[in-house]
């Protein structure tokens, strides 16, 4: 019997703000433990939260971009539970009147697109960070992360393979980075993902009992965990066992999921309205402003790159994978009007260099105008494409202009026929035999002579010009001798 997985993903991203969600403490990483805390995010009695406007507008931007219906009244709720990383013993979150609901994200799958519905996008605050002492009997709490603004994006169970889950995450991250609302760095914890997975026989539409899988620290881990979990559930059903609703943790070392010791009682968070925050009445103009200010989104930009610049689909996709790269590409176009050539350089030598140095193109020293300048030098014949490959590395290292590097290093290609004339004469004189071979019809002989000229000019001669000069001279000589 063939089974298929039914997967829903819950993604938490940390919103890019300078201060926390409900207080003015800094959100930056790297402060000493508990140095970014105040009475609000430490949960001192009487401290009152006030909503960070940028956290709200960033959240609205995401909700608009995934086509969610945005609620005109937003309330916050207290989600009550006890854990040492939660200083107030409740988390301020949203419950029955979330920011927005009913959106969707289109993802690429083999052979087309698939629409994954988004159940809701809502705001909440983060908890502190617990550190466990190896072998000791204590844990330690750092509340710097307490109260950081989070956005939770919950998908409907529309995902039907671990591969699709991976795609969804990749495309969602791309979108969020375009919207400039989060760094989406899983390693730094600014993007986290939990997965709900159940299985059913292919063709059925009902939902089976699901397991919640946590503790994946990369998109690849999400995929692996889902692959494992699918197999596990299929095996259970095939051996006549039941699936138990539970939370399971991904163990990256053993590459399996392990059941969390089930709690004595099911979670009961006793949500109730947060009395410290009055309901927010969202004015339409706030939503419309975010809608109007939406940047061009990745899919649209890719399509435009293909149609407006005549780029192959592959190039269009690679160039739009990061907003920064796409912007850079378009800036280059402002100085040099051959899209495919710029694309080749960005995807080839430039990206090779950047990957090796773990840099982004903006952090490199190469300016769009600089790259354009180099490509113009190639077009004019001053330097060869091969020389340009060396020069670009130097430009990336130093930020120097191509023209300066060319003249400093004496790299200019010799296209001056006067100088090449002289060298060609010498080469022909010293290689009579080869010259005659060419005249007898051996084309390879000419290549040898070109090579000799290149050698004498230390590779600086323009090969096309040398080729022409040699050909002219030899055939002229033959004419003279024949006469």
């Amino acid at each position: 019997m063939a089974y298929e997985p039914v997967i829903g993903l819950e993604v938490h991203v940390q919103l890019k703000t300078v201060s926390k969600m409900f207080c003015g403490c800094a959100t930056g990483f790297g402060g000493a433990p508990n140095s970014h805390t105040c009475p609000v995010c430490l949960g001192f009695p009487g401290a009152l939260p006030v909503l960070n406007q940028r956290a709200l507008t960033g959240s609205i931007r995401v909700a608009v971009a995934v086509g969610c219906k945005i609620s005109d009244k937003i309330t916050f709720h207290r989600k009550n539970y006890f854990y040492p990383d939660l200083p107030k013993d409740y988390q301020i979150s949203q419950y029955d009147e979330p920011l927005s609901e009913h959106g969707h994200l289109k993802i690429k799958i083999s052979g087309g697109e698939k629409t994954i519905r988004i159940k809701r996008v809502h705001m909440e605050e983060d908890a502190g960070k617990l550190i466990h002492e190896e072998g000791g009997d204590s844990s330690f709490v750092d509340f710097n992360r307490s109260g950081m603004p989070l956005l939770e994006i919950v998908s409907e169970p529309d995902i039907n393979s671990p591969e699709e889950a991976y795609r969804y995450l990749t495309d969602l991250k791309l979108l969020l980075r375009y919207l400039d609302v989060s760094d989406c760095d899983m390693e730094k914890g600014s993007l986290r993902c939990d997965a709900n997975i159940s299985i059913r026989k292919k063709g059925e539409t009902g939902l089976g009992t699901k397991a919640e899988v946590k503790n994946m620290n990369s998109f690849k881990a999400v995929k692996s965990a889902l692959e494992f979990e699918f197999e596990r559930q299929v095996k259970r059903l095939e051996t006549g066992e039941r699936i138990v609703q539970e939370t399971r943790l991904w163990d990256p070392d053993r590459e399996i999921t392990v059941s969390m010791r089930s709690k004595e009682e099911a979670h009961d968070y006793r949500y109730f309205p947060e009395p410290d925050l009055v309901p927010f009445m969202l004015q339409n103009d706030l939503i419309e402003m975010e809608r109007k200010n939406l940047p061009e989104l990745p899919g649209a930009r890719k399509a435009r790159f293909a149609s407006a610049f005549g780029l192959p689909e592959y190039d269009a996709e690679v160039l739009t994978q990061e907003k920064e790269t796409a912007d850079y590409f378009e800036e280059c176009l402002g100085f040099y009007d051959k899209p495919k050539i710029i694309s080749n350089w960005l995807m080839g030598d430039v990206s090779g260099y950047l990957n090796a140095k773990n840099l982004s193109v903006r952090n490199s020293k190469l300016r769009p105008q600089g790259l354009a300048g180099l490509l113009k030098e190639v077009d004019s014949g001053k330097i060869s494409g091969k020389m340009a490959k060396d020069i670009i590395i130097e430009m990336l290292d130093t930020g120097e202009d191509a023209g300066v590097i060319i003249s400093e290093k004496g790299l200019a290609q010799i296209s001056d026929s006067g100088e090449l004339d002289k060298v060609s004469e010498e080469v022909i004189a010293e290689n009579r035999k080869t010259a005659e071979d060419f005249l007898k019809g051996k084309d390879n002989a000419l290549m040898f002579l070109v090579g000799q000229v290149m050698k004498r000019t230390k590779g600086k001669a323009n090969p096309a010009v040398v080729n022409r000069i040699l050909r002219d001279k030899l055939t002229k000589k033959q004419g003279e001798e024949d006469a």
Binding site: C38, R270, V278, P279
Partner: protein, 98 residues
């Protein structure tokens, strides 16, 4: 709607409040009385005039804060009332994740 003692014990456990048997029976009776009164109001008002839940008695709307960093407490101040600490950390009994 009536509140059974069982419910009171359950909510007390969720809230980590220790109640004696006498308190459980007292609170059950009191809560039962309050909810009974609400039931009575609902019956009187009828379905049509159901009032939406009040999230907040204030009529203030949208008090925002600009996204600006304000000084935080010094670590010593943040940790001043901690029952236990080590370095700049709050120290708590070991929490086992699994």
């Amino acid at each position: 709607m009536s509140i059974k003692e069982e419910k009171v014990r359950y909510v007390a456990r969720l809230a980590r409040i220790k109640l004696t048997d006498e308190e459980v029976s007292l609170f059950s009776r009191q809560l039962d009385g309050i909810l009974g009164y609400v039931d009575k109001l609902n019956q009187k008002l009828g379905e049509q005039s159901r009032i939406p839940p009040t999230n907040h008695p204030h009529t203030a709307s949208n008090p925002f804060r600009a996204d600006e960093v304000k000084p935080s407490l010094k670590s010593e101040a943040a940790l001043a009332n901690a029952p236990q600490k080590r370095g700049d950390f709050f120290k708590v009994p070991r929490i086992i994740e699994e």
